[in-house]
Symmetry: C2
Subunit: 200 residues, 2 copies
């Protein structure tokens, strides 16, 4: 038999294994057998720690939500200029995706969005919160004249979240062939210079 671990540790192992496999196999194709093999236990062991597969996904969702929330709070904690806060928010998002490439796929997976209504609403609220942070930063920047006056902060926020999503997709398709954070921040600066209305 394998080395035994306290339930909390093993639970974390299982969630981590799922996160790793979700990128390789795909969130909607993962089986409990796949996960068990990755962890190094039998399939039945998964069900000792999570009553059902749906419960396992719920835990995964909670872990992701916590990480994102923490990353955003840290980005906003500095209390620097609104530009810096904005950059921090975007950088945090890019780093989260780089650390867990399955994140976009999971966020849009049917597993979480169709089967688990609670988590779907939770994530929807979470992303709305992120968008609200961006809008707040952009409004502050607008008052300082760092954003063109004819641009609504809401629309600018949409452009920025789209940018992150678009680059993340390109990063995934290109087999992670470049630094997501570096490329993302480069294009962010470009977009910010466009929004400012003057060359960067």
């Amino acid at each position: 038999m394998i080395r035994r671990k306290p339930a909390e540790d093993r639970k974390a192992d299982i969630v981590e294994a799922l996160l790793r496999l979700a990128d390789r196999i795909g969130p909607d194709r993962l089986t409990t057998n796949d996960i068990a093999r990755e962890v190094g236990v039998t399939q039945a062991a998964i069900f000792r720690h999570f009553p059902t597969k749906a419960d396992l996904w719920s835990s995964v969702g909670e872990v992701i939500a916590e990480r994102l929330h923490l990353a955003w709070d840290q980005a906003l904690a500095g209390r620097g200029a609104p530009q810096d806060q904005l950059r921090g928010l975007i950088a945090a998002q890019l780093r989260q995706i780089e650390a867990c490439p399955a994140l976009p796929a999971i966020l849009h997976s049917r597993e979480l969005n169709v089967d688990n209504a609670f988590l779907r609403d939770r994530f929807r609220g979470l992303l709305a919160q992120y968008q609200a942070h961006l809008v707040a930063c952009l409004e502050d920047m607008g008052k300082e004249g760092a954003i063109r006056a004819d641009i609504a902060a809401q629309d600018a926020a949409i452009l920025l979240t789209s940018l992150v999503q678009g680059i993340a997709i390109r990063w995934g398709l290109g087999a992670h062939g470049f630094s997501l954070e570096a490329e993302g921040l480069r294009l962010l600066d470009l977009q910010l210079s466009l929004l400012a209305g003057k060359p960067g």
Copy 2:
């Protein structure tokens, strides 16, 4: 028993049913049973028309590729100003997604990207071609002074494709609560005015 159709018609029915269900159920969770029920035939009937499920997906891929190609050609056929061609290309993409909401999910599905190497490469080439069209339009616009001189056409193209992807995602999450084409073109015009460096 049901009304019998010529094989070509039934094949098209099956592909259409898959496209419809892919949006509701998810591309990677779709079963041949789901498809058969949607079409209104037995599961075995699917295999009369497609030897394997993978062959069915190949047909779906071909249909999508043809539609996209056709839509792009029509957008470029007008031979108007580069701005109009660009707008046409983006509008075509938005309309394709609106007509077939499962398109983004299918394009990024494991079904097509992991299991079917041929189609994956086919789509990768197709999207590269689209990007090349955008870059060509943007370069022409740059020569006419419609794009700020300090912006590379390649980067501008990335911003625009990201915009389409981002809005499509928002449209999907919001249960198609707004007109994708209208909202997309509105933000496109906004981004173009940013790229031009002068208020729209």
